[in-house]
């Protein structure tokens, strides 16, 4: 079942026009069952287990049960993603548990400035200078291998 939705926890993202999981799934798998207002993965065998639905779910209603055709039952890997880091808990089939925390961004979400303070040294569409170059390269000119 790769990603699955815990019925009790899912509220169908009732405050929004579409569910968060449906919005984010890169393979268009998550769907809202209108009869009970709960989300589900319509095609588990096409799921990449990318965890994007798990990470985005506002009620933490989504988990992953590993592909049953090669994973023994009992392992759980669950993330909790915050604004600058992600916390992982890894539960083994044996019951052992490990926790990891990794940073995932260094500036607040939404604040990326495209040019990032670098200036572009040529306004010529025909030049080999790209936006923010050469300053963003940290060298003075664009290199060339001559034929």
């Amino acid at each position: 079942m790769p990603s699955f939705v815990i019925a009790e926890k899912c509220d169908g993202c009732k405050a929004q026009d579409k569910t968060a999981c449906q919005y984010i799934c890169p393979n268009d798998l998550m769907l809202l069952d209108k009869s009970n207002n709960k989300a589900y993965n319509r095609s588990p065998e096409m799921c990449w287990e990318c965890y994007n639905c798990v990470k985005i779910c506002p009620t933490q209603a989504i988990e992953i049960r590993g592909y049953a055709d090669f994973m023994p039952l009992g392992g759980i890997v669950q993330p909790l993603r915050s604004s600058d880091s992600i916390l992982w808990s890894v539960k083994f089939r044996s019951g052992a548990v490990k926790r990891f925390k990794f940073p995932n961004r260094t500036i607040p979400e939404g604040s990326a400035v495209p040019d990032a303070g670098f200036s572009t040294n040529s306004q010529d569409l025909k030049s080999n200078v790209l936006r923010t170059e050469p300053e963003s390269l940290g060298i003075n000119e664009i290199q060339v291998i001559k034929h």
Partner: protein
């Protein structure tokens, strides 16, 4: 009543149309926005998913595999071209690879400013995983890059737009000049007609053309994402663009089944892999490499040759194969001065090993957890995956594109960077061939190169009118045909899946995968094929082309699946024809031509290019001269 009447039609006019939402599309959007704004042009991006998490970097990455470090004189362009050439057994466009390499550091520096955490050492330099790779905390890599791309579009005001959840089905072409594309929304009954003066194809590579090793739930656990369904190749092939390297598939060796990354284990932890007897098959089978000179004498050894040395043992029944994780960790800990620092080091390594998976292949962490694997104690199996089409890694398939004015030999350039042989149609990332090893950072960079070139093309052609004589109505009818088929016939049988009038896309995909697996050298055939097998395979592909008109869909999601599989079919066709044309074995470990088992440098050190004629449906496959800027 025809199903078409249920659909709204939106016609959208733009100057530049960028198709895709992954790394290369984001690079194109970032770059094109800047130049378009100066020239008062419009840029429109169309993504089949949500840009925050679309494309091959959707899950995240634990490393950036291409960073030269030019500002610190760590590497030269020539070094990089030699490395890529060697890994690809000689078949690359030096000009395209060098063009990406000379700009890529700039992209990485931008990523860092946009908030991507990159590991630094005590001298404030990026931590190297290997000569070309740097380590990142990349869980949000794609989200960060998408944010910058969206902000770049926003700076253009209403001239910068993006559409999500729109699936492109057809290019619009007039007299070998692109004029736009059409597609449909997977969320509402709406058809989009995009009219543009230039179009960038950046829709990724192709997965699920070959039968995967796991065919139950694990079908989706391909190494490259299952939503990379060949849209780029289809788009340029159908537009009549010349393609290259369609035989150069990629088969990575990864941790078995969950396909977790091995790069950090080999490069950072210096782990060795062994056969079931504990033998280092790379060392043991070294004499075989003489046969593949000069590439077999290179260090690092080309990826396919490393696969090949493992497969030799596999055929002798010496599997399973293991990544010796426990020994690697022990060796590193043993190099510490005392027990306390060894313990600290072990803890640190354990974190790094898990993060490597959690950042980019979470399933592998789940597999370790479900099988109670602790890498410091238990070694893990490795295996070759099924074949993929991906020119951003060690594969080479894609469109044949124009090279940089200041580096490309004359026959490799026709005016605009990364323009295909169709005027105004550009390709980058997995869509552009023969510029392998660009990875995430290089794909973004190639997108930038392409974005600027496309704006330059538009500026040079102010009188282009993006209309075509093509019968759009007919194309829309073809686009929606699967819905029509289902509506018309689904009540004929009591089973919505078994019906003589149509075929649902899932079985269509399985049929394609079976053909490719059994005739074109998939996993179950140990990657071996021959001309007679390929000829037989082509016969079956012809039936598939006919049956593609009977694909049926009962909703918009399934309509997308139908088209994804039509796209895969064209990729398969191009692959089989190119495999057949190249009468040698150049990439053992990716595929073996049993009827031509040797490398033939005299006759085949060249590109295999191909072209589909959209009018007649005929293919031509031909040699293209390989001109080097740098010798190995």
């Amino acid at each position: 009543m025809s199903i078409i009447n249920d659909f709204q039609i939106t016609e959208h006019f733009t100057d530049l149309l960028i198709l895709g939402g992954g790394m290369s599309a984001c690079g194109a959007a970032f770059e094109a926005s800047y130049w378009a704004k100066k020239n008062n042009m419009k840029v429109t991006v169309v993504d089949k998913a949500a840009m925050d998490r679309s494309g091959a970097v959707a899950m995240g990455l634990s490393a950036i595999n291409l960073y030269l470090g030019l500002k610190n004189n760590e590497n030269t362009l020539e070094d990089y071209v030699r490395y890529v050439k060697s890994d690809m057994m000689g078949i690359i466009r030096d000009d395209l690879v060098a063009n990406i390499a000379r700009h890529v550091d700039s992209s990485v520096h931008l990523f860092e400013k946009w908030g991507l955490p990159i590991w630094k050492d005590e001298n404030n330099r990026y931590v190297r995983e290997g000569r070309w790779q740097i380590m990142i905390n990349g869980e949000s890599y794609k989200t960060i890059v998408a944010e910058a791309a969206k902000n770049a579009l926003k700076e253009m005001g209403e001239n910068g737009q993006y559409f999500e959840r729109v699936f492109i089905t057809h290019p619009l072409v007039e007299n070998n000049c692109i004029t736009g594309a059409i597609g449909f929304s997977v969320r509402e009954k709406r058809i989009y007609i995009f009219r543009a003066k230039a179009v960038i194809s950046a829709m990724g590579g192709a997965v699920h053309v070959f039968r995967p090793r796991s065919v139950g739930e694990g079908l989706g656990r391909s190494w490259y994402p299952p939503f990379n369904s060949g849209a780029s190749a289809y788009f340029t092939i159908k537009a009549g663009a010349e393609m290259t390297g369609q035989e150069i598939r990629f088969v990575p060796v990864r941790f078995k089944d969950a396909y977790g990354p091995v790069g950090a284990w080999y490069l950072l932890f210096k782990a060795k892999s062994t056969n079931a007897l504990g033998e280092d098959y790379m060392e043991k089978n070294k004499p075989e490499l003489d046969k593949w000179f000069p590439y077999g004498a290179r260090n690092p050894l080309p990826t396919n040759l490393r696969n090949h040395l493992m497969m030799i043992d596999e055929r002798q029944g010496k599997g399973p194969f293991y990544m010796n994780t426990s020994e690697a960790i022990r060796n590193i800990a043993a190099s510490e001065a005392d027990e306390i620092s060894a313990k600290r080091k072990l803890k640190h390594l354990e974190n790094e090993a898990w993060e490597d998976f959690l950042d980019m292949t979470i399933s592998q962490a789940l597999l370790w957890a479900s099988t109670n694997i602790h890498p410091e104690e238990t070694n893990s199996e490795i295996a070759a995956t099924e074949p993929y089409f991906i020119s951003s890694h060690s594969g080479g398939s894609g469109a044949w594109v124009s090279g940089p004015e200041d580096m490309a030999p004359d026959i490799y350039k026709w005016g605009y960077n990364n323009m295909t042989t169709v005027n105004g149609l550009f390709a980058c990332g997995d869509a552009a061939g023969a510029s392998s090893h660009k990875f995430s950072s290089g794909s973004f960079t190639e997108g930038r190169i392409t974005g600027k070139a496309a704006i330059s093309f538009i500026a040079d052609h102010p009188n282009l009118i993006p209309f075509s004589k093509e019968n759009i109505e007919l194309l829309i009818k073809e686009m929606l045909n699967p819905l029509e088929m289902f509506q018309q016939y689904n009540t004929y049988s009591t089973d919505k899946f078994v019906n003589p009038h149509f075929i649902r896309p899932k079985m269509f995909m399985f049929r394609l995968q079976k053909i490719m697996d059994e005739y074109a050298g998939g996993t179950s055939n140990s990657f071996i094929t021959t001309q007679p097998l390929l000829i037989k395979g082509l016969e079956f592909l012809r039936f598939m082309h006919e049956d593609s008109q009977k694909l049926a869909a009962d909703d918009l999601h399934e309509l997308m699946r139908c088209w994804e599989n039509i796209h895969r079919l064209y990729q398969a066709d191009a692959h089989v024809r190119s495999l057949m044309f190249r009468e040698e074995t150049r990439w053992p470990g990716y595929y073996f031509r049993a009827d031509f088992p040797d490398l033939n440098e005299n006759e085949w050190k060249c590109f295999v290019n191909s072209k589909y004629n959209p009018e007649t449906g005929e293919w031509s496959v031909f040699k293209k001269e390989l001109i080097e800027l740098v010798k190995l």
